[in-house]
Subunit: 283 residues, 7 copies
Amino acid sequence: MMEAIVQLYQKFLSLYDIRILKVTFDIIKILVITFIGIKIGDMLISRFYKLHRKAKIQLPERKIGTLISLTKNILRYVIYFIAAASILKIFNIEMTSILAVAGIGSLAIGFGAQNLVKDVISGFFIIFEDQFSVGDYVTINGISGTVEEIGLRITKIRGFSDGLHIIPNGEIKMVSNLTKDSMMAVVNIGFPLEEDVDKIIDGLQQICDDIKNSRDDLIEGPSILGITDMQDSKLLITLYAKTQPMQKWAVERDIRYRVKKMFDEKNISFPYPRTNIILTNKN
Amino acid sequence: MMEAIVQLYQKFLSLYDIRILKVTFDIIKILVITFIGIKIGDMLISRFYKLHRKAKIQLPERKIGTLISLTKNILRYVIYFIAAASILKIFNIEMTSILAVAGIGSLAIGFGAQNLVKDVISGFFIIFEDQFSVGDYVTINGISGTVEEIGLRITKIRGFSDGLHIIPNGEIKMVSNLTKDSMMAVVNIGFPLEEDVDKIIDGLQQICDDIKNSRDDLIEGPSILGITDMQDSKLLITLYAKTQPMQKWAVERDIRYRVKKMFDEKNISFPYPRTNIILTNKN
Amino acid sequence: MMEAIVQLYQKFLSLYDIRILKVTFDIIKILVITFIGIKIGDMLISRFYKLHRKAKIQLPERKIGTLISLTKNILRYVIYFIAAASILKIFNIEMTSILAVAGIGSLAIGFGAQNLVKDVISGFFIIFEDQFSVGDYVTINGISGTVEEIGLRITKIRGFSDGLHIIPNGEIKMVSNLTKDSMMAVVNIGFPLEEDVDKIIDGLQQICDDIKNSRDDLIEGPSILGITDMQDSKLLITLYAKTQPMQKWAVERDIRYRVKKMFDEKNISFPYPRTNIILTNKN
Amino acid sequence: MMEAIVQLYQKFLSLYDIRILKVTFDIIKILVITFIGIKIGDMLISRFYKLHRKAKIQLPERKIGTLISLTKNILRYVIYFIAAASILKIFNIEMTSILAVAGIGSLAIGFGAQNLVKDVISGFFIIFEDQFSVGDYVTINGISGTVEEIGLRITKIRGFSDGLHIIPNGEIKMVSNLTKDSMMAVVNIGFPLEEDVDKIIDGLQQICDDIKNSRDDLIEGPSILGITDMQDSKLLITLYAKTQPMQKWAVERDIRYRVKKMFDEKNISFPYPRTNIILTNKN
Amino acid sequence: MMEAIVQLYQKFLSLYDIRILKVTFDIIKILVITFIGIKIGDMLISRFYKLHRKAKIQLPERKIGTLISLTKNILRYVIYFIAAASILKIFNIEMTSILAVAGIGSLAIGFGAQNLVKDVISGFFIIFEDQFSVGDYVTINGISGTVEEIGLRITKIRGFSDGLHIIPNGEIKMVSNLTKDSMMAVVNIGFPLEEDVDKIIDGLQQICDDIKNSRDDLIEGPSILGITDMQDSKLLITLYAKTQPMQKWAVERDIRYRVKKMFDEKNISFPYPRTNIILTNKN
Amino acid sequence: MMEAIVQLYQKFLSLYDIRILKVTFDIIKILVITFIGIKIGDMLISRFYKLHRKAKIQLPERKIGTLISLTKNILRYVIYFIAAASILKIFNIEMTSILAVAGIGSLAIGFGAQNLVKDVISGFFIIFEDQFSVGDYVTINGISGTVEEIGLRITKIRGFSDGLHIIPNGEIKMVSNLTKDSMMAVVNIGFPLEEDVDKIIDGLQQICDDIKNSRDDLIEGPSILGITDMQDSKLLITLYAKTQPMQKWAVERDIRYRVKKMFDEKNISFPYPRTNIILTNKN
Amino acid sequence: MMEAIVQLYQKFLSLYDIRILKVTFDIIKILVITFIGIKIGDMLISRFYKLHRKAKIQLPERKIGTLISLTKNILRYVIYFIAAASILKIFNIEMTSILAVAGIGSLAIGFGAQNLVKDVISGFFIIFEDQFSVGDYVTINGISGTVEEIGLRITKIRGFSDGLHIIPNGEIKMVSNLTKDSMMAVVNIGFPLEEDVDKIIDGLQQICDDIKNSRDDLIEGPSILGITDMQDSKLLITLYAKTQPMQKWAVERDIRYRVKKMFDEKNISFPYPRTNIILTNKN
């Protein structure tokens, strides 16, 4: 093995002697071809999907984004793999001798690479089982955001204010997809225990009716679920509504605004925490 | 191995030369057949289960949903597997040469794929042992919702407001099935320590009787369990009732509404947190 | 390997051609036999245990429930395994060819299936070591409930209000069995620091005596353990009693009810949190 | 392999034909022998240890409990193992054919069974290194209680009120043995910052002396450790005493009772949380 | 093997005898060559990238930093590897004999080295997939900071006040890249429930307009998102703005300053926690 | 394999027939020799170390405790191992046949025993690298106490009040050794924000000087570190001192006692939590 | 294998017969040589580095500490390894026979030793990549302190008051190095919401200027970052400064002292938590 390394060393030196220019030229050639290959590939893919739009049998719009990002991703992996093999060829370093050096490390490589395989298998099933598409709003491992790219190895999710999350597919334990067709807006509102519960429910019903009339991004108008919790110093009443995708938050903010107005108009006392004080003076 | 890659490369290039149209056509043909195969398969399965409904020996309704989702799921995996094999065949890339390239990676694949195997084995036993059916309300890994689909590899659970959860079967450590025949409604109500406990129990008994008479989704009418906890500033009294599946929450909300009314009518003071203040003026 | 898949494909197609009816018929035949086999097996098992009850040497009642659930469980696994093998036989797909396809995946299967083996081994020891029986009240991995079924692979536990928990035996790290012969009822009661501790202990002793006389589900009458904790604003005094299985909670509720009464009668002030306020006016 | 299964199937059926009675009889015979073997073994073991008590060279009493539970445990494993092998023999199912079926699963069995091996190895060292004996009070993985049984695979710990904990030995990461010869009673008592610290220490010293005189389960009389913590609104003073095994809690309760009395007698104000309020009226 | 060690021992001693000076000289020679090699390599790399800046086709500025740090990193690993092999050669210790000594340990090495392989594979994909570049602001495993170096095995991140974090690439489970083109500034402001919500929104709108006019590091001017939460004693209103990279915090501080001014000017009461006190005098 | 078991069974029976007495006698003989061997070994080891004390070249006292406990521990393992092998020899059960039975389980044993190997390797390095000695005060995995015994497989740590902790060496992830030559006493003291900080620092300096003069277990007299934290309602000032081993707590208690006295003398108000109350009467 | 053990046993006994003195003498000889070898090696290393200080080309001072600790560490491992091999040689126990005994355990050893390999690999990279040097202040796995020794297997970190932490290198997941050239001092100061923010900022600016003039351990003088958080009852304003290594805390304490003075001088009210109380009398 020592000889193999020495041989590598001599090759390495000889490269620097004469052939260095040729090799550099060859590598640049491959890199340029790779670069052009990707550009052309991307272009062809985009063009293909544009053509598709004129076709009679249409894929759902939602799937096309996923397919474009995926085919480009696969193309890139294939081209890079060929380029890497070609460059190694130029250096005339036989794979086998590298493997001989690695030899003892093959177990380590096997263990170390398992995450890579896990990522690709998971990625394959995410796409195959259509767990989510580009544009969906999902929650993965406690991170929420809009899916921006689905690849074989990683998924990219754009959060509202916490940047672009890049998650290896193998790390995805559970996906919660919040946008298949509709989203659910839910607002929990606290009321003091001493208020008249029927007056409050009447007021909330009025709000539900108003919202149903004034908004057009609702699929099923807001309804009152009832007293969903009774705590030490307040009642929780829950309103819910089925909305268009991504409209959940706007509806929730609208409900909150109107509830705040109702507190003012109907003179309902605010649900501040209450405490019963028993005084013992000790002067 | 280097030659294998170069061969791949040349094949790859040659594909782009002439045969590219034929190959594309072949692939599309397979995809179309696959697509049609699935559609027909799904139709046949649905029709079969419709036919079954006229049969004399009936499977329980609850199992049919599970069986439909499962047979479709298996059909899909089989057809896709055949399609993938056929497409690889078109490219004339022998599996064996790929495996030769993989070679060193077989250990990695073995480790990486273990999750896939784990998922399928777990999925098989979930179905085989009838842990839950489509339509059941379950809690899995802290996520609650209605089972929407049981597959060999994943289970889909629809939450009330947090979207569709997609859980790989191998990640399911413990299943809590809340709807086998009945659900249990439980409401804990706090009362101030200084109130008359017998008056409260009388009032709660009255509520139990009223609910038993007015609702028809109860299997075993609400009962008082007694003082289930005695905290620093309140007693906890628990009511419980066995209800029809999915009626648990409606019953609980009903109980809470009536208890709130009882507080008002019977003039029971609210269980606000109490504090005993000892004052020391320091002017 | 490619040929094996193509062969599978052709077989698959040929099945749809002519033999499809025969195959379907065969499968249904096997399913029916399986179904009947299980019914008869279940019946035989039940009958056997009924017969046993007339026998002279009696197994303890508590073990019979476990044995019935277990033998039915094993029977089922055996019959299903034979049925599955028979169906595969009909399709004439030799196991060996499947294994050849699997081939590379055998490592993955080995890793993936380890949980299954772990479950069965754990299950075997749970039964063998008599860790718990059907009907016992146990706590496993933070879940409490009554054991409803002990199988080779899973254990089913019925919670009071959180449904039926299905736990793979391999996930059971520690079992806490609360009902072997007796249960321990324990109530911690808080008293304000400024109260007379002897008066309180007298009152609690009175309660202990009353309960001992009035209840018949006690094995060792309630006793006072003494001041088990002294916190910033209260003393904790603990009562405990050994009760019949499953009577723990009833006894605890009874104690709490009587203690609340004692607070009222003896005019003991309630253990509300106390705070010493030092006032600094700043007008 | 298929033939092996079919063979199994035919054997299975043939068993039901004629030999079923003979087989059943054989099994029952083995079970009875096993049952008797265990009874006799248990008896012999108990008798042996009784004999031992008359011997001149005595093992410490504390070890005998452990040895009895251990030898019975090992006997049981050996007898059951022989019985299981005999029953399999009756069915004439050669182990090897089962292993052939298992074949592919041997890796899975290896992985799955590692917990079993881990348990036995851990159990062996717990006994060999005398980490704890039957009757000791230990804390293992957050669970405290008295050791009731030490086996090769599991350890049983009886908690005060939370039942019998059954812990596989391999899950025992750290053992805290609280009773080797003595236990340490420790009570932390809070005093308000504004009290005279010397007066308090005098009072506590008085309590220490009283306890030393009145109790006989102390090895080293209670002492004052000093101000072990100074918090925002109180001082913590710690008393400690070395007691006989299992007397720790009784001594602690005694100390608490006497400290409460001291608060009353010496007119020390209670360590209620204190807050300094700065008032800003806004009328 | 014993002989191999003894041989090593004798060699070791002989080294100290005569050849020690020569060996030391050889090692120093190699170290000096290595040192010079790295210096020259670093210089060549820097020069190459400087040359590149005059080239017509420009790589994006953002990528050049990453490429420089990466090529230097790879160069260093290659040179050190050759140097280490050469030094071992001097000692004339054949690799094979070392491996023979290791022998039994090869499994251990395989397992132990898997992290190294995992790190390099992860590092390769971080660079290949362009997850982040030198200069980006990222969050990795709960640590936030500016990327200072991306290597094959480790990534260095400079935190604002908590020093330089060095993370092995294999430990990177999820990357959140906060600076791709823009950052999102988000400020949540609490208002008391009893205030007039429209007056507040007007004031905040005024602030948004002012900021938009006075700052030039904004991509999309600050906007009001609405009432994003309604808590027991306050409303939360959220302002957000898309800013230039790294300007997020300056914009947020500016918004906070102006909101504080608005509280003063518009006489809005501060969102102190509110509590409703019910007094019971007990004199 | 079946025959091997049957053979075992017959041997087992035959043992009970005639040779049982001889075997029992042989085993007892071995046990007695083992017992005596350990006693003599322990005695020789103790004597050797006593002899050592008269030797001229002395090992540090601190190491001798560790060496005694270690050599006794190794002796014990060696003797037990030989005894176990001899007993197995008596039963004439060849190891190889046991291994044949184990056969399939060798993988399981390999996995299961890895913890044992890990423990011994870790133990070896703890001793070899002198991480701690018998008598040191250490913190391991959140448990603090004085090291009582260091063995090859386990370490025993005596806590102040929580008994004797027995930790397998392989579970030791990080050791914090608090007594190498000295310990550091640290006391954080809170002062109200409104007090005069210079007056406080003067008082604390006085305390530091007093302690330096009155105690002789200090290596570096107590010093004031300054304002180490500024919280909402108090300043934290930290005193620290380097003390003799195990004197840390005594010094800290002394400092606390004197600080409490200073509060009284200098009339500094106590650092009770402060709250600014804004009152809104609503009568 | 049995014979091997018996052989071991006989050898063991024979050792005790005659050769015991010779063997003991040989071992002591080796131990003494080892001891002297280490002493001389340590001396040579120290001398070499002293010589180096007179050399023209100087290594940075910071690296020398690391190199000394490292070379001593490697020397020690090498010498101990040779000594251990020599002692085994004396006993004439061939390694191979030990390995034969181990045999079945080789898998266990492989798994058990992986941590050791992991530690050495990690240690190698920590040194190679210059993650930290002796004397740096680092945070590793939540433990902060000054690096005292970097070894191949373990790293020693001296905490301020929590002793010497000994961390196996393989347990180091992320290193945060706080002292490369400079440290960052950061102080967050809370101010009541109702105070004039401009007056506060002026005061803080004054403090920044004063500190810049009076201290010489600052690299970049303290600056005001602005309002970094706005909480319910206070504003947070942050000051920061770049300081000499290890001067971070002194600067922070200085800032806090001056801010406290500013509160007094400028009559700014303290940031006590504020609460808005709404009173409801119930007499």
